[in-house]
Symmetry: none
Subunit: 533 residues, 2 copies
């Protein structure tokens, strides 16, 4: 890992974009990265161009030890980022040289080490149970040992803001100990996440003025201000920002790397990524996949809805100039503007939507009129196309007179039987009769519920005829009871999200019978796949 | 709607907590409130204690017109909040008196009207296509007309921050026009959501100093700073904050009412809710249910994980003192520290809940323990009692060993058959075999869908035995597919709201089979009616 410039500084050392998805992000409830996952996450972060990737806590967590070992063996080639090992200072009363955990940090071969230390007197005395002098010695001993061993060292000053408010002298003494030991950056951590931007910025400014140290910032999102606090800290003098992908982290999470980066680049005009911000959206979604967490559709900058417009009021102005209603050009962060077709929307949004789906409606006012009428009629009956682009595309193509080809199958009939037996068992069974490529097929299957059974029977019937069938899986299934007619005879809207490994598409079905509504959405999903391949 | 103090001021008029879930929140992709939903949302917001509830845009959207009509007819009794109608100023070149949309605002009978007006010169000239003088006349004419008609008027200055940055004089002229017309509050809107807290606070401070007007703030979340921006604006002099429940709104959403309120109360020490913040978590989750959006587990203050701890490092310190690792006491916002426990399963809230439902659990710690265990186990399997008080009451009574009497009926078996015939007709038929008052009854009925047919058959079987049966009707029926097992074999949660002319009650059922889940909720509804009369 030799390099001419200091590790982790693709754009020079003036500003550090530091990611801790693999360590602090992994504290999020529900995340459990394998070592392979961790390597994949690190590669994506490096492609994006962050300066530092905190890989974990070697010596404390076996998976993290293995991650660093495999990285050192050449399984992780980083182009931009420096790998960082996270750990704590030596134990009270011992020496850094002989501390097993500190040695594990060296053994990890990471060129950078971030040490965590308590900087709140109450934590030092009540949780660590040492006095402030020993706490400071633990910091300076460990930092100076690692620096002598050729590592670059940063210090995470845990609970800094709470500690500084309660006892500023102790908090500053911990920073001093790190600086004296040779730490490059002291990172002020809002560990409990209780800060607000104006107060936090004031503290950062004050600490900068009193110490002159290079300051970093690490924020948790417990007041829903982690991104804002991180940005405010940079404006107040911090030049090192710790974030996690999509804000993953303990409790309410951490500062979201993508929102922080978007703000630094688009709002403060800082060049913090070597290749610009256009990969933010792709990397965010890929990292959500690896974490096995559905992407937050409403996430700032990178969410699927981040530039989605619904109000008819806005849609007509968007035709005049999209930037009148977007805070930035979505393409800047690799995202897209979408227009949602709803009862609130009109002709303008439908034309925009057609353009987006590749159906040109410009100069065909009569088609737009008939589609608007049809959409309005369907929406009055409970249909909703704003989340069902694939069904809308089928409708648009049909109204525009485009040849959609033969449908891959036609239904003759189906029957679903549900039995709650006297032994308490509940059984679902479905039989479908369909015509596929000229042949009449009858199949029966069971399922956990009526729709599952019907889906299983249909797939059984189609499988011999449609080679792509098994590549299509259901990603999500949503049911909404429309309460125009209250009670169990209400209209039901079903949204089905499908995927085939390459793309995802959503279809909609509406009917008073939930099973029939589901059937309509399931059929649209397969027809759309057949059409688009 | 007469009251002695000004409308919407349960704590006096000094600070306005203003909710726009029903108007701006409804712009979120995927939300489609029925009129019944809107009334339920307004009731919950009023229980929480917000000062103002913006109900919609009467005259522009038929559902909103109906909402205000039903509210005016007595379907919405507000204890704390004032109802607000949202709308735009008169059309260019016309008069306010004759403007149909302005008249609809009066017809709504809402005591408060919020008018939206463009305050960015580029929007005035390019989207509205009038000059600044006419734009200002549209504002002052409409405001003064509504004030003369006895309404309290607020002005939403759309795109204020972008407009003020580009051309401050025009932006201020629009505020002047509103103030001259008699508007009480001018609300500075970050419509495109591109602001950051430090800059926004500076602008608010400057505008306050230049105008002396009472300022409001309305933030969108496109930089992930909506909450922070709202709080910064209050610190800089705004005394009216517009939010939406859970941050619902267009694109990345709006400022989250619950995080903003949590910050105002817990961080700035402001008394903005008449009954304190302990209902924040419950109301947040109930509003997510109505919106049919899964609650964000990592939401600040109210998320199920907001006070959940995973780090081993933290675990021991938490034992020493939980507040060392929590920014506030979770109970303050009705939340709970443990991971898998929802706020409803906490011992204290369960005792409170018992008292509310008439089941005394004080002094019976062993019953509380067994109920907490049972609720935790059920919630881990997908049950949710947050919105299903009647099911929770049945469970509490059973665990407390109270005599619930004989159940009014027991099920032997049922069968449901769905036929999509070859002529396209879809038929649903259900047969139930039940024992009622010692007699075995078999009945069959048809319905629009499987659950409707089952409900009809059950009622047919029970009608001769239960005199009250026909007084019970289904007010609402909600289905939520629980993610975790994606696709059509996922677990299904059904909520059934029943009413009998005197009261309303909600029951829940969970099962992989949607029909069985519905059956469980339907049965609980009738058992509860039988018990409570």
């Amino acid at each position: 890992m030799t390099r001419t410039e200091p590790a982790g500084t693709p754009l020079g050392d003036e500003f550090h974009l530091y990611d801790t998805t693999l360590r602090d992000g992994a504290q999020r409830e529900g995340i459990s990265y394998s070592v392979g996952d961790k390597l994949a996450v690190a590669r994506l972060l490096d492609e994006l161009g962050v300066g530092f990737i905190e890989g974990g806590w070697p010596g404390a967590l076996p998976k993290d030890t293995e991650f660093f070992a495999r990285a050192a063996k050449g399984e992780l080639e980083l182009r931009h980022a420096a790998l960082v090992a996270f750990g704590s200072t030596r134990k009270a009363g011992g020496t850094a040289e002989k501390d097993a955990q500190v040695r594990a940090l060296l053994d990890s071969q990471a060129p950078v080490v971030t040490l965590v230390a308590k900087s709140d007197r109450r934590h030092i005395e009540r949780a660590l149970r040492v006095d402030v002098a020993e706490a400071c010695a633990m910091v300076s001993d460990t930092v100076s040992f690692l620096v002598r061993e050729g590592r670059r060292v940063f210090l995470d000053a845990e609970h800094f803001f709470d500690g500084y408010a309660a006892d500023p002298e102790t908090a500053l003494r911990v920073l001093d100990a790190a600086a004296e030991g040779g730490a490059d950056v002291v990172v002020l951590c809002d560990t409990n996440g209780g800060q607000l931007p104006l107060g936090l910025a004031e503290t950062v400014r004050e600490v900068k003025a009193r110490t002159g140290y290079r300051l970093g910032i690490h924020c948790q999102d417990d007041t829903s201000c982690a991104v804002a606090n991180s940005i405010a800290a940079v404006q107040a003098g911090a030049s090192h920002v710790q974030c996690t992908a999509n804000g993953y982290g303990e409790r309410a999470g951490n500062a979201d790397l993508f929102a922080v980066t978007g703000n630094l680049v688009a709002k403060l005009g800082m060049e913090v990524l070597p290749n610009g911000a256009a990969e933010l959206t792709r990397v965010s979604h890929a990292l959500a996949e690896i974490a096995n967490i559905a992407p937050d559709t409403h996430q700032a900058y990178v969410g699927a809805s981040a530039f989605a417009h619904k109000a008819g009021l806005h849609a007509s102005a968007i035709k005049v100039d999209p930037l009148l209603y977007n805070h930035i050009d979505p393409a800047f962060v690799g995202n897209d503007m979408r227009v949602l077709v709803t009862e609130m929307a009109g002709r303008a949004s439908l034309e925009l939507k057609g353009r987006e789906l590749g159906v040109d409606l410009a100069g065909r006012p009569e088609v737009v009129t008939s589609v608007v009428d049809k959409v309005k009629r369907l929406e009055a009956a409970g249909w909703s196309f704003e989340a069902a682009d694939a069904s809308l595309e089928l409708l648009l193509r049909k109204e525009a007179g485009e040849d959609n080809g033969e449908p891959p199958f036609t239904l003759e009939s189906y029957r679903v039987v549900l039995d709650h037996r006297d032994d308490g068992e509940v059984l679902s069974e479905a039989t479908v009769k369909v015509v596929v490529k000229g042949e009449r097929v009858i199949e029966t299957a069971e399922g956990n519920g009526p729709v599952h059974a019907l889906d299983a029977a249909l797939r059984k019937a189609l499988r011999p005829f449609l080679s792509w069938l098994d590549s299509v899986e259901l990603a999500d299934y949503k049911v909404r009871i429309l309460s125009g007619h209250p009670g169990t005879d209400a209209t039901t809207r079903v949204l089905v999200e499908s995927r085939d490994g390459e793309r995802e598409w959503t279809t909609v079905g509406v009917h008073p019978n939930i099973v029939e509504a589901s059937w309509l959405a399931l059929c649209d999903a397969l027809v759309h796949k057949d059409l688009r391949g």
